[in-house]
Symmetry: D4
Subunit: 236 residues, 8 copies
């Protein structure tokens, strides 16, 4: 295989960033850009470098570059640098190039517990699609009305990877994992208040799922869940 | 009984929500809508669906639908969709239909420790009334001036369910439970600062009440306490 | 009514305890004795005083006195002082007098998620029975195998008060509350490890139950839950 | 498909447990028994029922039943009830039947950071093998001596699912995920002291892995990680 | 005044301790010895030095030296080195010389909420007496039976400093402070379980007391509270 | 004495507040009004009632009423209702009547560690003065430059009560208590960032002061510290 | 040596601050001014005093005074008082005098994991340079692309002190310390979200670095890290 | 320089450990062995390999290998494998070879606040000496008696690196850093109880030291502090 420690086709963004252009070759999926916390100047420089890299000769294709947790201003600035990018304001995500690739692998199923979880669920769903998987999104099937998730047992059985997005008690992850043969990636959300502790309550709940087959990513990390589900379903 | 897992009269809000219209039939109390965290677009679609459902033929009455933790903007938007709704800005609640039903069951008594606890206490009091109970509200009877709560021992003795709303030390819940034969639902509030830890201090205090007969709901969750008290007092 | 602040029929256990013999008259349920943390000498003195009080003239009957969280040594010592007491070693509880009273009021249903939750569930179930309610106990119906709780929907519908005992993700409380019209008292347990944080995970989960109608007591507090359920079901 | 909510082939362990014998049919993997927290009497009853079920007519084969986090006494008691069971004292696991099945699917690679992580790593490795995957175990490749993990890049590239077991800083998960195309299941361990906070430090570290493709299970949960890796690698 | 930074009459316990023999002259109260965490060898050396210092010529009297949180073994070893010392096993304290001095100043009143709080309450009460104050101890007056503390309003009004010792909800501190003109020193105890979090719950509760006039010391720190109360009542 | 539970000269602020006008008679110090968290409407009503009560016949004088943690808007509104009130914008406090009373009792010394602690320190200093004590304020004497606090040893020795205000490491409280014979009231502040955890770091530090004689109030609670110091120094 | 406790050349900023002008003589490095939390009025008074002190006769030179965590408004106000000051808006730092001194001692190497860590990294780098060290800054070398830090092994080997700035998993500190002979000062940053807990995750991770030779400063404390590195490299 | 990622002279301890024998060449200090958490069998195998490696031909000398946090049994087992090793039971450390090397570099000064901190302080002091530095140990100089640390200002001024070991309030680190020009490595200890939170209180206190020049290692990590101090003083 290629030696991951020796051949870094790293871009020069001196003093700003060292974009890991070799990541797609090394890991199969390109580096994404977390917009949150970056200055506009730094973000624009990175987007520009991404565009320049793609258009220069001799490079392998990078695949789709995702810009995550982008404010409206950040998203617009990225789109200016990268014509053809697609912006989903609910998911706060920009993808470049915009069109989703032809899907391959097994299906990724994203389930969310409530309406307020949609932004994170949508981030997971879009990520899986941009990384090349067929993906489905089902919303508002929290366990307070159990018939809603039970109506999806066939969909759950057919999926190669399942993402469960839930805040508050995070109970949906346990319930789904008890019904599914595919792995469940739990995404706790910061939806809720008080003792939800900005998502710590569903995080702990999912880490202690009484059903096996649940692994957890960071609070509100739809991107990470979608990425993981895409990896899991790659051979599904 | 009806089979709760098989006959979901669920509305179609494709991609937004799956309102649990069967909940009143199943549980005796209809689903409420937590406004906080929902986009305006999603909230309006839900309110519209609620209205449409009520007016279509052949449905059982839903009962009063409560919209909780509504910002002023959210409340106004809901009221536009649901003429006849009542908005209480202090409690941040919209109820539709607006008038409280004829009360039945035992009395719900809501006590709060300080003036700053009024919004949460009022949310509990209104919830209990909209769910059909006679309810009373007493404010600012914290234990720093013990005579204030001691002056209400008769009212405490007469209640079928008691809600105690308190921030800071949450001590009122223990004191009231030591005087009452009815169950006490404690609602810790985020009133206070510093080591009040946004309500964790009274939450822990109430969970460790030295008097038995106290159960606790989430910080600032007046709706949940009012709902529970209404259930408890249903047969009171 | 009697004035709770003025007529304390308090026993003399000078320097050890001030047993609240008036509690049954005031609140309808007598004081219980938390054994944990008491020295053997102090506990024996209290048990002796309880016995002496009951046998002296002119007192109203106390009702059943419960000794909770008793080690084997403590339980045996209490039983020596109070002949006729009943000891349940799994629930770590001693009741005196031993026989459960004739049940009245509605039914208390205690559900627990796993086998390891049985001690706490049993403490709740025994408490409700000793305080005078008919009570049922159902074990190991956690949500990992959802058919187990769904097989009890009729039992759930018939109960006047429900106690849900669960560790780890605590998800059973939300699921049951979504099915029940009766109030649910959640008891998080310290069953689990790691991020279960000695019961904090299910405690937070239950406090954030996505279904309304759940109130929570302290971790492993089967006594408190059984007491509360007995109060709720008193008029059921 | 079979209806998971309607046909529970549940054993009768009245008042002790309700073993989910249908889980293998429903999810593809049988229920495991967490020994920790169970009384010896309860555990023995469950083991006996498992044996009886397997030998009765007309049942589908259960697959291998794992007893996890078993003390020496518990393990010996289980082995007495289930002749032919295999006990791994380091992993604190009993498997019945003892022999690992013929492996199928992709390879599960278990990496651990230090010698003290071996029990948890071995639990993950054994779980994956008993659930039917080829699996490899590599120990003591923490990032303090980076050459150790870099020497395994080919092994990492060949795996279908990777389990990273680490306490303290948990940094190995990020480093491995940055090199791998397969999903990484992180298992934080309670190895460490002081600010390791019984495993919370590596738990948080792994949840915040700067490389995508990491999902996390509970602290010390080798079983859960092995199960998840087996699911992921099923089609690898 | 004496210069506290320049004239340290410090004993030589080379490599073990540097006993602050000047503390009584500087602060009015001598150094105490926290036994917990010290090796037997180190503790014995310190006790011996204390004895030697007292008997040597030319020294001012040290006053009573308290050895706190002493295990039985530690207490016995200290008593062997310091004949005439008094050991209170409930308070885990050794005082040398044993007899309490003639009291002066105002009265210190120590109130505790429950029987299990007695060891800490007794530590506070003994400390205040050994530091020279008249002191009273009242036990088991928790707020679950409010008449118990209300029966002591005259005692509360007469005290110059009040120590309130309580675990669980810590509510007694607020109630007493609302009745008293003297300062209240709150001592949260580790009495309780689960969400009492080893005393953090009453600690937070007391820090957020809704009545002014409460200051708090460390969990279970009866010594600190007694010391502080002795200082407060010095001029009472 | 007066019976604190029976003669509540409570104002009628129906549904808003129940001002404890008897507190000065009962405790020696009148009730203060925490402005934070109160609506403007509620706050104004309370201020108006305070003014009306003072001017009506037959009432005992209330003493100075303090309005704490008042925003600029709140302070101005209070001043409009209560002519003659004094507003200190740094301390965010309004006092009515404005002039400090003639001082009596011992001296209260307020020391703060840094410039950013001044608002809290000033709140303590003003409170002590309005409650009738002579008080001194010394700023920016943190332990990073130890000579600053050592230059005040005479002032420290002369005080009857000492308030130490510090954020970050809170170390000043221990250092001062090691030098003082008077009690030290520690006020942790939210000054700092990151691991200061909004004041939890100095709170914990002060609770664990290695010198005896430190008691602690809530983070940023200058009012509580000044009140306590005034009580302590009353007889100084 | 000079006696640090006796000769405080302290400026008079009566009631505002007590600037420690002797600190450079005592510790080798002058006092810095943390702007955050100071009112504009107080900050300006301090800046003015610093300027006045420097220009008055007979004083030793103070060295460069750093104003840290300065908002834009604060920085501009300081620059108005101290002509010749240099403002770095990214690092939120003002230095006076502006030019960095001639470097001496060993090299300080500052490495940061991501682009969003640049403000803190730059604060460390500037601090080291203003305190007199040669310093280098390398950005975006997080462990997700390990080749980036491995490309700097020579730079790492040549440094006398290394500062590692990282949020999220903080893993870079362990990796670098495993490669370096120089001490590593870890600076966790608040970069990240959810379970990053505002920097607590990398803080804990760095405190538990599996490689020795890492010490940690407060979250986002670039100044402290740069100061410490300058001290370490002073003799390098 | 040598390439740290390519030439791992790693011992074969197949399935147990991968001892990093190249660490001394790479970092200047050899790998240490944390005994805690290792099985006796694994520890003995590692000790044996260390001995074998040293005695085989052609290896560079390893330097002194330290075995830290060793129980008495573990220490004895290591000493059996490595004749000539030195065991310090107070510091729970084994060093092999036993004699400390000839000291070089600047002096490391270890200060501890109390007698109970001695084990950790001694671990730091021994580590520094075994890694080749001259080192001094001063005990029981906590800030409650400030004269004790002020008596050491000359020793503090002469040190090249200072280790401050303290539990409880951790205040000594700030005080020393305010006096010293050398870097201070703070070691919080688990000495204390209650709100000391097993060392979190002094950890937070030291992280927020108001004096610059303090960096912190894990709670009770005397080894880490001694190692870091040895690195810092290497060129002192």
């Amino acid at each position: 295989m290629t030696d991951p420690t020796r051949t870094p086709p790293t871009a020069s963004l001196e003093g700003i960033a060292e974009f890991d252009f070799g990541r797609a070759a090394r890991r199969g999926y390109p580096e994404a850009v977390l917009c949150e916390g970056k200055t506009m100047e730094h973000l624009v420089a990175i987007a520009r470098e991404v565009g320049a890299h793609q258009h220069s000769n001799g490079h392998e294709p990078l695949g789709t570059i995702l810009f995550t947790r982008a404010s409206t201003d950040q998203a617009q600035a990225v789109c200016r640098e990268l014509p053809g990018a697609a912006h989903d304001p609910v998911a706060r995500m920009v993808a470049w190039p915009g069109p989703v690739p032809e899907p391959s692998g097994g299906t990724v199923l994203v389930l969310c517990a409530g309406t307020a979880d949609i932004p994170v669920a949508r981030e997971a769903w879009l990520t899986a699609r941009h990384l090349g998987r067929p993906a489905e999104l089902v919303v508002d099937v929290g366990v307070a009305g159990l018939h809603r998730v039970l109506a999806r047992v066939d969909q759950i059985a057919a999926a190669s990877a399942i993402v469960v997005v839930a805040g508050m008690d995070g109970a949906l992850a346990s319930v789904v994992a008890g019904l599914a043969s595919a792995p469940v990636v739990g995404v706790p959300t910061s939806v809720g208040y008080g003792a939800a502790l900005d998502g710590l309550a569903p995080l702990l709940s999912m880490l202690n799922a009484c059903a096996p087959g649940v692994a957890v990513v960071n609070i509100d990390n739809g991107y990470g869940a979608g990425h993981l589900a895409a990896q899991i379903a790659a051979t599904g």
